[in-house]
Symmetry: C2
Subunit: 314 residues, 2 copies
């Protein structure tokens, strides 16, 4: 698949940060930044820009806030064309500062919303767009929303300056049919906008569903190194680059940073396909119960967890 419009965003630091409260070392973030820059990936997402009032700094690492100066510490001295994105939870905006884009290392602000928060998302987009940033809206948990509500949100977003709206399979519950349906729905209601796709791997479908999105003309696609991300993680960046035949991509730096950084990291934090995440995915549920049980001594008691989950949800 070679379509020059396709833009690949790596969310290793951002989504991976949800596992360890964003406490990645500068050395790690720099290694990832350098590898991605060399690989030809279009965007690296450094983390969240969160409110320190709502998210106290004693609880989180630097990548929960992504201060411009902190980002510059990482990128300094590395030649690169890669663009930098940050994510903002639009429903938790408070005192965060956004410099004008031409004074910031950040190129793109991605606004994460639930359908009910679309107005907060629009407010953030307008503000960031006026400051000169590229903007996106990532509508989370759509597998739990009814269609008129999704359509209303899309119709509102169609009137904004937002560049990209993402189909997000938050719970890793979707099959290719749902991805096709939603990407087509988003395209229909967002004329002139780009569509993005962000998939989770609970059912080992993140890569397949990302391809499905691409087939139906989603042009912004998310991956992460070795699939790192909360719970079952994301679409593997290495798989995406293997599939996209754009000659600008180079797989070797990605393989190298996986062997040098990601594999050793698996000794300290876990992610990827595991039965508890498979079960929350198949049941279209938030992975929180699975994350909690993986921290207990019963972390491999799958049959019992399935019974509990089925009872909790019934």
């Amino acid at each position: 698949m070679f379509r020059p419009e396709i833009k690949v965003l790596d969310c290793t630091i951002r989504d991976g940060g949800l596992i360890n409260d964003h406490f990645f070392s500068d050395e790690f973030v720099r290694a990832v930044y350098e590898a991605l820059a060399r690989s030809g990936v279009d965007y690296i997402e450094m983390g969240y820009r969160s409110s320190r009032e709502l998210c106290p700094p004693e609880k989180f690492g630097a990548w929960k806030y992504c201060d411009d100066d902190k980002i510059r510490q990482i990128t300094e001295g590395i030649e690169s064309d890669i663009k930098i994105s940050i994510m903002v939870d639009a429903y938790r905006v408070k005192e965060q500062v956004f410099a004008p884009a031409d004074e910031s290392p950040v190129d793109m602000v991605r606004s994460a919303i639930y359908v009910k928060d679309v107005d907060k998302g629009i407010d953030l987009i307008n503000r960031c767009h006026d400051l000169g940033y590229e903007t996106t809206v990532n509508i989370m948990a759509v597998s739990k929303e009814i269609e008129p509500d999704i359509v209303e949100a899309l119709d509102q977003l169609a009137k904004t300056p937002v560049d990209v709206v993402y189909v997000v399979d938050s719970f890793g519950s979707m099959y290719c049919e749902q991805i096709e349906y939603l990407v087509k729905l988003y395209r229909e209601h967002l004329p002139g906008k780009e569509i993005g796709i962000h998939c989770h791997n609970n059912q080992q479908l993140a890569f397949a569903n990302t391809i499905e999105g691409i087939i139906h003309n989603a042009n912004y696609v998310d991956g992460s190194l070795y699939g790192i991300g909360r719970g079952a993680g994301n679409c593997c960046l290495e798989l995406l680059l293997g599939f996209l035949k754009n000659p600008k991509f180079d797989l070797t730096p990605v393989l190298r940073v996986i062997q040098e950084q990601m594999i050793p990291m698996l000794k300290d934090i876990e992610w990827g396909y595991m039965i508890p995440y498979m079960l929350t995915g198949a049941l279209n549920e938030h992975p929180r119960h699975a994350i909690a049980m993986r921290k207990t001594a019963d972390k491999d008691k799958y049959a019992e967890f399935y019974q509990e989950l089925s009872q909790t949800l019934s």
Copy 2:
């Protein structure tokens, strides 16, 4: 997806046996058999029926031969409707004995062939069909064959009594487009036969490709517990049962045998998504180079392996 014609075959013991030369303990095989019987899965594949002359018994465990008496030792005393299949490499048939089906615990003989061995496959099918067995042909490595050769083999198979012909993604190299294309091609050339699908997980596409096969009317689908199988392994049975909504399936016994048998087994043998297998898959190559490098001290030197592989293949 609920289509009563869909038959699920578990190949845990057979494909998993390729990792450990078929040295599974009777206790393990019995636990798997019992769990699958309870789960409502249609077939369990016990292993290969290989020639002892070609495959000397000092090198392999019992499940390389699947003698009828050995199978009876496992199944004895367990109430079950599950059918039993064995696989035979049609190009390595020598002195193996097949009792009449009504005197054997085996219900189905699956003949594994390369395109060039279709006549050997047909010979085996005819013989087993006459003995009363259900028969299938699994055409391996079709991603390396040119279409006229595949079509010629299919046209020959159309004239035999074979019940099912499988699309096999031996190298885990196929995307959904190729699966769709091949399943339709097989259907076109095999009127009245059932189509099966057997996928490998090198690119995390085994489950997605199995679904793709089902969408295009493949009715025989293979899975294995926690995806066990040589290299990157197979489509996970637990994912398949979560997707197929036939109420006859019960996921709980499958989850329990995964937690009790498969997870502990990962300490001794490895399978599943790993970068070397991803690379052979993306390059449409047999996993043998990846399997060999995973047994060396350089097993996580992915960038170097990729360079070597690219040079070897160029």
